[in-house]
């Protein structure tokens, strides 16, 4: 009979273990949930891009309110929905479906709330379309001061609607004096962004000052189609335009990662398993193998940045491979080689003695024993080690950063000698960009990386189970 307190202690230990597990799972779930939430905006970002828009954050200096942010249409694609609605490059978006917008994030959030369909978008046209070309002339009344006059008012423009005519001089916008052509337009943007849609304009027409009500806003209907899966599909399969987050893609980093890890696997795994077989099965125990083992253990614990510097000096410079896929693969191979050796040796050590004895007893050579019996038996363990190494290599950024891999490239690597970027570096690039939308891209790329790990681990588990069933 076991004393009762022992059983009690076991229960406490069990409860603590379950608790620790739950805390761990909760932390993981929170992290993934936060990333998913962050990446959710990708759909709306893609919808604006599909409507032909690329947005940028700008700001205007308003006296008394410092800098006021605004969203500008940085690109409007020819023959796109946005262009057909009347938008052009340089227009300032001020409202989407009834909500005021001051930065790209707010545009995407407004779209996310609206859902699919046609949305009313309002904007302040760029100067040429708002009131046509302005001319800076010497003030007719006060020589030495600059006067800003309208040269030709475009048909259908807000200026024409308000009754402005060519030759009118702009004196003030919403109470603030006009001092330059660009500044006049910025005053309009600043005033609208601060509230009133209809502004008071003071002009001088034929030496007479007049007050005019000026409504600079133009509206149009733009159909937006937020499509979750297509948005992700496009994100994953395009190289894109790295300047605009709604147009950037992960393709070159994805291909770069796969190529680099592929080259790594090609070198690290045969070498690693071979070295493990040599050390476990052939090498005799002497000072040389002892030293070798200590070296491998030390190599396994080496900071990955150091491996990167080694790769830079040897592969990139001495061997002249540069910052190529090949050099990157070799550097990562160096990083995971000791891990692979250690894991494969552990797996080989778990092969029971009877397996070797049974094979040897019918006259198998040492190589035949290894090839037909020991390796198949150790394979599930070796696979586990290899998959773990693959996963580690996929997530490694430091060594390739030091090797000189790019943070982004605008092409897909075509050969092993092309330069490249990898998903972790792309994430690093996006995560450190201050502009709206890049944090979302980073989150989306992180989810892709997590998904890749999940797929890899699932493959490992399936392979392991298949082999284990064969041996059990």
């Amino acid at each position: 009979m076991r004393p009762k307190w022992r059983k009690g202690r076991g229960t406490v230990f069990g409860a603590l273990s379950v608790g620790a597990l739950m805390v761990g799972l909760l932390a993981l779930a929170t992290m993934i949930a936060a990333t998913v939430l962050q990446a959710r905006r990708l759909t709306a970002m893609d919808a604006t891009s599909q409507a032909g828009l690329a947005l940028s954050l700008r700001s205007v200096e308003v006296p008394g309110r410092e800098f006021v942010p605004y969203v500008v249409a940085a690109q409007v694609d020819p023959d796109s929905a946005a262009e057909r609605a009347g938008l052009s490059r340089g227009d300032v978006l001020v409202g989407v479906g009834g909500s005021a917008v001051s930065r790209p994030d707010e545009v995407w959030d407004a779209l996310g709330k609206l859902g699919p369909g046609s949305s009313t978008v309002s904007w302040i046209p760029k100067p040429e379309k708002l009131w046509g070309p302005l001319r800076a002339v010497v003030h007719p009344e006060r020589p030495g001061e600059l006067g800003v006059t309208l040269a030709a008012v475009p048909v259908g423009s807000p200026a024409e609607r308000a009754g402005l005519r060519p030759g009118d001089a702009l004196i003030s916008v919403a109470g603030l004096p006009v001092t330059g052509t660009r500044q006049a337009w910025e005053l309009v943007v600043g005033a609208v962004r601060q509230g009133p849609q209809v502004l008071t304009l003071v002009i001088e027409r034929g030496r007479e000052r007049q007050e005019l009500a000026f409504d600079p806003i133009v509206q149009g209907e733009i159909p937006f189609q937020p499509e979750l899966w297509r948005a992700w599909g496009r994100f994953l399969t395009r190289i894109g335009d790295p300047r605009y987050p709604e147009r950037a893609g992960l393709l070159s980093a994805l291909v770069g990662s796969l190529l680099v890890v592929g080259v790594m696997a090609l070198f690290a795994f045969p070498l690693g398993v071979g070295a493990a077989v040599y050390l476990e099965e052939y090498a005799s125990q002497n000072w040389f193998t002892e030293v070798l083992q200590v070296l491998i253990a030390n190599l396994a614990g080496m900071p990955s940045a150091v491996v990167g510097i080694f790769g830079l000096e040897i592969f990139a410079r001495s061997w002249g491979l540069g910052r190529s896929v090949f050099a990157g693969g070799l550097t990562l191979a160096l990083l995971v080689l000791p891990m692979t050796i250690v894991a494969a040796r552990e797996a080989l050590r778990t092969v029971p003695r009877w397996v070797r004895e049974a094979a040897a007893s019918v006259g198998a050579t040492p190589w035949q024993v290894i090839r037909f019996h020991v390796l198949p038996y150790a394979l599930p363990g070796i696979f586990t080690g290899i998959i773990l190494a693959l996963a580690r290599a996929l997530g490694e950024a430091a060594p390739l950063l030091l090797l000189g891999a790019f943070l982004y490239v605008t092409y897909v690597p075509q050969s092993l000698l092309d330069s490249f970027t990898i998903v972790p570096l792309q994430i690093f690039d996006w995560a450190t960009k201050p502009q709206d939308g890049f944090a979302e891209l980073a989150a989306a790329a992180i989810l892709v990386l997590i998904a890749m790990h999940l797929v890899l681990n699932s493959i490992a588990i399936v392979l392991r189970n298949r082999y284990q069933r064969r041996w059990a």
Binding site: S284, Q285, R353, W354, V355, R356, E357, A358, A359, A360, S361, V362, G363, A364, T365, P366, Q368, F372, H373, Y377, R470, W471, A472
Partner: protein, 266 residues
């Protein structure tokens, strides 16, 4: 010289007069610093069953595993002395342990079939030794020799692991016999089997000894008495006595042998 010792000495001479397959000469073996066999000398006669008995840890398994160099698989093993197999030193410079193991088959204490089909279990030894004849016929021959054919002929592609313990051990026997070894070493082949399966193995030993030399290690003295022609008794790494089985069990020449077979220790 006492009467028993004289009888024992005569028996040894009689055994030596038969043609010896193994001539073990002052053979010692160490695992690292630990000596497992101490100066063992013994002639194992051809086409007879020789049993090695003794208490646990006496070196009987080590001795039988020395006969096909199975101890080579354990690092830190060191040997001294000679084991002549048909006149050739097994531990000599030019001897290939792989060739030794092909000519001297082995069945182990725990049934250890490969995790492959019944057929592949038997065929493996033939394949790696470059067998060029009719593989199927030879596999059937070996399974018949091991009295397993009747039971498995319809399930040759089933895993060897799916057989019962006794069947597995006979499968291992068939695997060893398939390459037609000259000697069969059996290291406590029945210790993991029930009495019925044990009986089948013993029957097989009786049939096989017409064609092949058998060395069997057993901790079961009744079994040694039932199946063997000669018996060696070992204690603490030393060979205490070697004699025809009938003599060893009825008129042991050494008081330690007598103490063991009458159950006073072991």
């Amino acid at each position: 010289m006492s009467r028993e010792e004289t009888a024992s000495a005569q028996a040894v001479e009689a055994a030596a007069a038969e043609k010896a397959v193994f001539q073990i000469r002052s053979f010692s073996l160490w695992y690292g610093d630990q000596q497992a066999l101490k100066d063992v000398s013994l002639d194992i006669p051809e086409r007879r069953v020789t049993a090695i008995i003794g208490p646990s840890g006496c070196g009987k398994s080590t001795l039988i595993r020395a006969l096909n160099r199975m101890n080579d698989l354990i690092p830190s093993v060191r040997t001294q002395g000679q084991i002549l197999f048909r006149g050739t030193d097994l531990y000599g410079r030019g001897t290939d342990p792989v060739e030794v193991r092909r000519r001297i088959g082995m069945v182990f204490q725990k049934p250890n079939p490969f995790p492959k089909s019944v057929f592949e279990n038997v065929a493996f030894g033939l394949r790696i030794n470059g067998f060029r004849g009719d593989l199927k016929a030879r596999v059937q021959w070996a399974l018949e020799k091991a009295a397993l054919w009747e039971e498995v002929q319809d399930q040759l592609h089933k895993s060897g692991f799916d057989l019962s313990g006794g069947q597995q051990q006979r499968l291992c026997l068939a695997r060893a016999l398939a390459v037609q070894p000259e000697v069969l070493l059996m290291d406590e082949p029945c210790s993991a089997l029930d009495p019925i399966a044990t009986g089948k193995i013993e029957d097989l030993i009786h049939q096989l000894k017409e064609e092949i030399t058998i060395v069997i290690v057993t901790h079961n003295m009744q079994q040694a008495a039932r199946v063997s022609d000669h018996t060696a008794f070992m204690l603490l790494g030393e060979l205490i006595e070697f004699a025809p089985t009938k003599i060893l069990f009825t008129r042991p020449g050494d008081p330690r042998t007598e103490a063991y077979i009458t159950g006073r220790f072991g």
